[in-house]
Amino acid sequence: MDQLTKEAIRYLGYGRNAVDEQTLALIADAFDILQSVAGRKSIYRIFCLEHMDGDKIRFGNLEVESKSLAKNMKGCDRIVIFGATLGIGVDQIIRRTSLTDMAKAVVLQACAAAFLEKYCDECQEQIARELREEGRYLRPRFSPGYGDFSIEYQGSITRMLDCAKTIGLTITDSSMMTPTKSVTAVIGASTSKENCHRQGCEACAKKDCIYRRDTL
């Protein structure tokens, strides 16, 4: 079973349980649909990173106070600001499918999440290659909403990247991303190659979450 399918199954809440044939068929079908409708656009910029007193960091003209982010960025002198989206086509197909077949809609939703993560991983590898040339190594990406890194920073990140114009990613008044299958994140870069553990979803305090990666 490929990694994408495994991730989709995790998002569907199966945990370690076996998956039935019918669901697997729905998953395969969903990835086919996504291949043709998903837009895949991304953008990033690199800034110098300043560590301030307490749990504050500063980049561009933005100051962020967050204990978990400051910890994630420890030892970094650059920060990559990153935005990515699968575009509105995916939202449209999920909305449409919700009317005709809810099982398929739920599977599409999970597959789109897996698809998006994989796309972000690919983008990140590309950025990592570029930064390695100047002797820097990337940390795991960290998104607003992880730990105490406030979700409101989605707005600041999308403004700094001009995401509405460049990739079509916008933020609603209640800090939600549209298209919904989108990511904003920051990625630290340091000159020392640390063997840092993958810290995305694992940084969350909700230890009993059924989607949690490190317990699966």
Binding site: Y14, N17, D20, L62, I88, M176
Partner: protein
């Protein structure tokens, strides 16, 4: 006036502003328009530099100047816009050059509904305000640019047209697939903007000049209007901390010369271009003669994402969204059951419709409101172009205004009164309008009589600037049961209009057989004859196999179906194949098993078999309910997972639908079902969780009133009171929207104290639910079902 020069001589725009300001110290995320007030000299200096190298049109620094970005009064918007216009004028004096001042209008930075949360009319208002300030301050034209969404463009163009007298230019960002971010291709973009009567259109930003050329070729293919081209200085690249563009002025100028030679009317630069780029461009391009645009004759209707170009065979307009003679549809309209209407739309698209007719007129409903709801809803789930079908001109105008694309409009007639009412709307909003060949004296009995009315309609339309390509003539089909020559007259008139007048044609095909038995036989054969006589589009039922057979055969026979691909795709292997799963019902599987396994088609066939011998209620009690219980318990125990739970639910739904058909009036009555209102709260746009709960509640025979997502508390309370509902389910995904959940509960407590509230969603837990005063927290969808059962049934 710029319109006197436009298209007659090659006009030069200026180049980039944002990238120059960044070089002067503008921070990422800082609003560049604030510089109009606190860095005036820098702004004037940039304008002046462009004027000195020869730009004819200079953009004000107002790209992001709108109330959605300037939320408070730190920088009053009016001052920002006034200063911006005056800086261009000052620069013009200093440079000693006369230029056109173009009020620059960029996107709001928000996505409009239904994809995002910005209301169409709020976008309109944001644009209106700036445009009015701009005209008052002395701008010569409005330049709407860097757009990614046709709907936002429409809001901006209407704001400009309705509130100013300035010429309107529009350019958008196309990507390398030749599409906007929201899916529009060049044909969509052009047909929609020509319909809105802008003065020039084109492409800017996103790409460099070389990458723009394929998009330009298509613009020249479709546009009758002058074309604007403003590329970036190549594609953005990253070097260390900075973004840069690497097409140098000489190279930029050379490609712009090629673009000018292709026939562009207005050229300039966008991100990364500097006065040096523009200087080189003007040096290389000066003297290039303007080429007048050729008038294009294609009849095009479109949605936001799909254009249908007439010709090359006949187009299918789905007729099913229409209450005439349909009891269920009428009930759905009365109940505001939008899902029913949307499903009819999706079904017709899947059956092969190219365009969907939308008629929601009923004597006792507010047609205007219903039409707007249906149009918005349909555009959320299908990208097929729509045909607005109404005799109510208020509903027609409302629909034309909110429609995202260039619609078909059904209809205008040869009556003066009708033409006086409908043509001004088409002139303003754009559209392809159906002209019925009847007038004050009724429907002429001869083909020539109908052709004469068609001619009258064409002449009258021309007075409004509506060209022949935007008319489709309906020569009307009269039933042969009372008009023996009805079909022959119609066919003759079709030929004369299509080939004599050179106008496209349309028919409501099935009228021909009214009053006869086995109508599909007559309809399908008449359909073939009509297509052969020049029917450009037929309003038919795409779910009718006979009609689709006629359609497919005609297109294969007339060589419109290349290599018979469509025909073979639809029919190969049909003879040998048994109608799907005919053996499935023969006792291989019980209904209970079919539902537990979640196999829809089997569930349907087995149920069809069972109703021959058993009572519907017995089937429900002995098979359906045990199956649902089994799956529900499995879900709770963690042996059945969400997709399986839902597949079973869908299979049960199919079985219920079969049973309902066979039930007598009293048994199937919806009246005694318990009602539950479901909504995703205001500000929240995620509704998958709510939709899961809905499917399950419906399975357990609740009547779910689904209010959708982003629902204001007031609307929820209103529906609860109207229908005397005793249970509301609310969903919220994020901490930011739990606030509106709390507000909704507070309002419900006050206005409808008897109503219980259950809540669910990713961010919630029991403590949170208690804190905001909910009666019940549903950890998952089944918990909500059990709660509803305990509360309302047991």
């Amino acid at each position: 006036m710029i319109l006197e020069d436009l298209g007659k001589k090659l006009l030069f725009f200026d180049g980039g502003m944002g990238t120059l300001l960044q070089a002067k110290g503008l921070k990422p995320g800082e609003l560049p328009e604030t510089w109009n007030l606190n860095h005036a000299e820098e702004i004037i200096g940039i304008h002046q530099a462009y004027m000195e190298v020869g730009s004819h049109i200079v953009l004000t620094n107002t790209f992001g100047a709108n109330a959605l970005k300037f939320k408070d009064d730190t920088y009053p918007l009016k001052d920002v816009v006034n200063a911006a216009v005056s800086h261009v004028k000052t620069a013009s004096e200093r440079a000693g050059k006369k230029v056109y001042t173009a009020l620059d209008i960029g996107p709001t930075g928000k996505l409009l509904k239904p994809m995002g949360d910005l209301e169409f009319e709020d976008a309109y208002e944001a644009f209106r305000e700036v445009m009015v300030y701009g005209e008052q301050a002395g701008a010569d034209l409005i330049h709407i640019e860097t757009m990614s969404d046709t709907y936002e463009i429409k809001a901006a163009v209407l704001a400009a047209k309705e509130n100013t007298n300035l010429p309107v230019f529009v350019t958008a960002i196309f990507d390398e697939r030749k599409k906007l971010l929201t899916g529009a291709d060049v044909a969509v973009f052009v047909s929609m903007l020509e319909g809105l009567r802008v003065d020039a259109l084109g492409i800017n930003c996103g790409l460099g000049p070389v990458q723009m050329k394929p998009v330009l070729e298509e613009l020249f293919r479709y546009s009758s209007l002058p074309i604007i081209v403003k590329p970036n200085a190549g594609l953005p690249k990253q070097r260390g901390n900075e973004t840069y563009y690497d097409v140098e002025p000489a190279e930029f100028a050379q490609t712009m010369r090629e673009i000018a030679d292709m026939g562009a009317a207005v050229i300039g630069g966008c991100c990364g271009t500097t006065p040096e780029h523009i200087r080189s461009m003007i040096q290389v391009c000066e003297g290039v003669k303007a080429v007048p645009m050729q008038k294009k004759k294609d009849t095009i209707v479109c949605s936001y994402g799909k254009a249908v170009v007439f010709g090359n065979g006949s187009k299918i307009i789905g007729e099913r969204i229409n209450p005439t003679g349909k009891k269920k549809f009428k009930q759905a309209l009365k109940d505001h059951d939008m899902d029913y209407i949307l499903k009819e739309g999706i079904m017709q698209e899947e059956k092969g419709a190219h365009i969907l007719d939308v008629n929601v007129g009923l004597p006792d409903i507010d047609e205007k409101e219903m039409m707007m709801e249906a149009i918005t809803g349909l555009q959320g789930v299908t990208s097929l172009p729509l045909q607005i079908d109404t005799v109510d001109t208020a509903a027609m105008e409302a629909a034309l205004r909110i429609y995202n694309g260039k619609p078909m409009v059904n209809s205008v007639s040869g009556k003066q009164e009708s033409m006086d009412a409908v043509f001004p709307l088409i002139q303003k909003y754009g559209g392809v309008v159906v002209g019925l060949t009847l007038d004050e004296n009724g429907i002429p009995e001869t083909a020539d009589g109908r052709v004469e009315i068609a001619e009258k309609i064409i002449v009258e339309a021309a007075k409004y600037g509506i060209e022949k390509k935007d008319l489709v003539i309906d020569v009307l089909a009269m039933t042969i049961s009372s008009e023996p020559k009805g079909a022959m007259i119609t066919l003759e008139a079709l030929k004369k209009v299509r080939y004599g007048l050179g106008v496209h044609t349309i028919l409501g095909v099935s009228n021909i057989s009214f009053g006869l038995p086995m109508r599909p036989i007559i309809n399908a054969n008449f359909y073939t004859m009509a297509m052969y006589s020049g029917l450009s589009c037929g309003i038919v039922n795409p779910a009718s196999e006979e009609m689709m057979k006629s359609y497919d055969a005609y297109h294969a026979l007339m060589n419109f179906d290349t290599n018979c691909e469509r025909y073979i795709g639809n029919y190969s292997g049909r003879q040998t194949k048994q109608p799907a799963g005919q053996t499935a019902g023969k006792g291989l599987m019980t209904l209970q098993t079919a539902i537990e396994k979640g196999v829809k088609e089997e569930a349907r066939l087995i149920t069809q078999e069972l109703v021959q011998t058993q009572q519907p209620l017995d089937i429900i009690n002995t098979q359906l309910i045990p199956a649902l219980d089994y799956v529900g318990k499995g879900f709770e125990k963690g042996t059945v997972f969400l997709p399986q739970l839902l597949m079973s639910a869908e299979a049960a739904k199919t079985a219920f639908a079969v049973l309902k058909e066979s039930m007598t009036g009293e048994e199937s009555s919806e009246d005694n079902k318990e009602k539950v209102v479901l909504a995703t709260v205001k500000g929240d746009i995620h509704d998958i969780g709510k939709n899961i709960v809905k499917v399950l509640l419906e399975n357990y025979s609740f009547d779910v009133i689904d209010l959708g997502k982003d629902v204001p508390p007031e609307l929820i309370v209103k529906r609860v009171k109207e229908q005397n509902v005793k249970l509301v389910g609310l969903s919220a995904l994020m901490t930011t929207t739990v606030v509106s959940m709390e507000e909704t509960i507070r309002l419900l407590r006050k206005e409808a104290p008897d109503c219980k509230v259950m809540v669910g969603g990713a961010v919630l837990n029991q403590d949170y639910a208690d804190m905001i005063g909910a009666d019940f927290y549903g950890k998952d969808a089944m918990q909500s079902v059990y709660y509803a059962q305990n509360l309302l049934i047991h």
